[in-house]
Amino acid sequence: MQQIGEVSDAQLVTSIARYSEVALAEVYRRHGGAVYGLARRVLNSPTEAEDVTQEVFFRLWNQPDRFDPSRGSLRSFLLAQSHGRAVDAVRSLNSRRLREVKDARRTATADYDMEHQVWDLALADQVATALGELPDEERRAIELAYYQGHTYVEVAELLGQPEGTVKGRIRNGMRRMRALLVEAGVQGVDA
């Protein structure tokens, strides 16, 4: 009999559509740390990142059909969900205040296997390398947008540059990133 750990992500999502909490728990085990990690990085608040993580998994439970395996990996899908919700939160006034609050309440208990840890670390290394190869102005625009939740219009204001310029730099930088990651053998982010 197939073990749950051997089931593909797509099969797990199919099981979630049939109300399998076990399948949702396995998706959480595989990808929860990434969902939480990205939300925490954008929000700089463990408490708010927990809220985002909950939202992402509730949404997967309620709307599993929103994941389309033909358009990318489940990890990629969940990270996009996490980022979108984190950015929504960071743009709200309350959240901006909360970002200043330090919350040290956090205990690590991830059930996360070594193979995937190594894979994630390798990917993080490749991403850091690729970002380092971008022209400074492209890297800065992308980092302000993605990691700090600013719109390109806000990035333009922050950098004192025309909106069109920033829009173009983000696009060129993302295209360059893609080429660099493909060159490095990263074809997706499926763990």
């Binding site: 980022h83 990133m177 990263v186």
Partner: protein, 258 residues
């Protein structure tokens, strides 16, 4: 409406969730019709996901919190859909219900709506015929460019977006209302059999006013009219016989506050 070039220029920012709110809706509308941009967006999203792939140890107890709040339905058959008005239709047949996958839990009843429904049937009958006539005209017009119609409404000053959700807060449809005209932005309502239709109701005070038939599988830009009535406080969708009903006779499958 946004051009292909304009949308394409913003795709990288869109993948980073870094476009302005008004642009977001326009790009989504364009994506619905442009496979080339969808493919390019997917590629950008993979890059974004790689950049955001910083796994952290999960906080203790977070999974337990999530699991404890999931709706209970693992092994149970979904409960029968509540009736809105009558237990049986006039022909004695049971009121149609949605399939299991679509309902995912008990559905809401319109409540006070049902009480007042019978009393205003005659008035509503006239309103329904007029509204549906208008719907037919508009549906013909809308076939030319669904996304354009929706974007035009979304960029009209003072427009309202209404999310319609199931009883368990699962979003099933999104509408936009601008200048007394409304349109379906998106719908996840499952297709019905050919002898049934979704019907939209606006709640004015305690009274459900028919705003029109949405068809058996509501499509983007399906229009409805709200101008001839006072502003509804709430929109609800019921399942009705294909010819529509003068008062709601099926269960409310989705509703949302205006």
């Amino acid at each position: 409406m946004i051009t292909h070039e304009e949308a394409n220029e913003l795709l990288a920012s869109f993948a980073l969730d870094a476009v302005e709110a008004h642009e977001h809706a326009q790009i989504e509308a364009h994506l619905a019709e442009c496979p080339r941009c969808r493919a390019e967006l997917d590629a950008f999203r993979d890059v974004a996901a790689a950049m955001g792939n910083s796994v952290e140890p999960l906080p203790e107890g977070l999974w337990e919190t999530i699991a404890s709040r999931l709706p209970e339905r693992l092994d149970a058959e979904p409960p029968p859909m509540p009736r809105l008005v009558a237990e049986e239709r006039s022909d004695g047949s049971p009121t149609p219900i949605l399939g299991r996958r679509a309902t995912r839990g008990p559905l809401a009843v319109m409540g006070a709506v049902a009480v007042a429904a019978a009393a205003v049937a005659a008035v509503l009958g006239i309103g329904l015929v007029q509204a549906d006539h208008q719907v037919s005209q508009d549906q013909a017009l809308a076939r030319g460019g669904a996304a354009g119609t929706v974007v035009a409404a979304l960029t009209t000053p003072g427009h309202q977006v209404v999310n319609l959700e199931s009883a368990h807060h699962v979003r099933l449809a999104q509408f936009v209302i601008a200048n007394g005209r409304g349109y379906v932005i998106s719908s996840r309502l499952p297709a019905l059999s050919s002898d049934h239709t979704y019907q939209l109701w606006g709640l004015i005070g305690d009274r459900p006013i028919s705003l029109g038939l949405l068809g058996r599988s509501p499509q983007q830009a399906t229009p409805f009219t709200v101008a001839s009535t006072a502003a509804p406080s709430r929109l609800s969708v019921t399942i009705e016989p294909a010819s529509g009903s003068v008062v709601p006779s099926g269960a409310v499958v989705a509703s949302g506050t205006v």
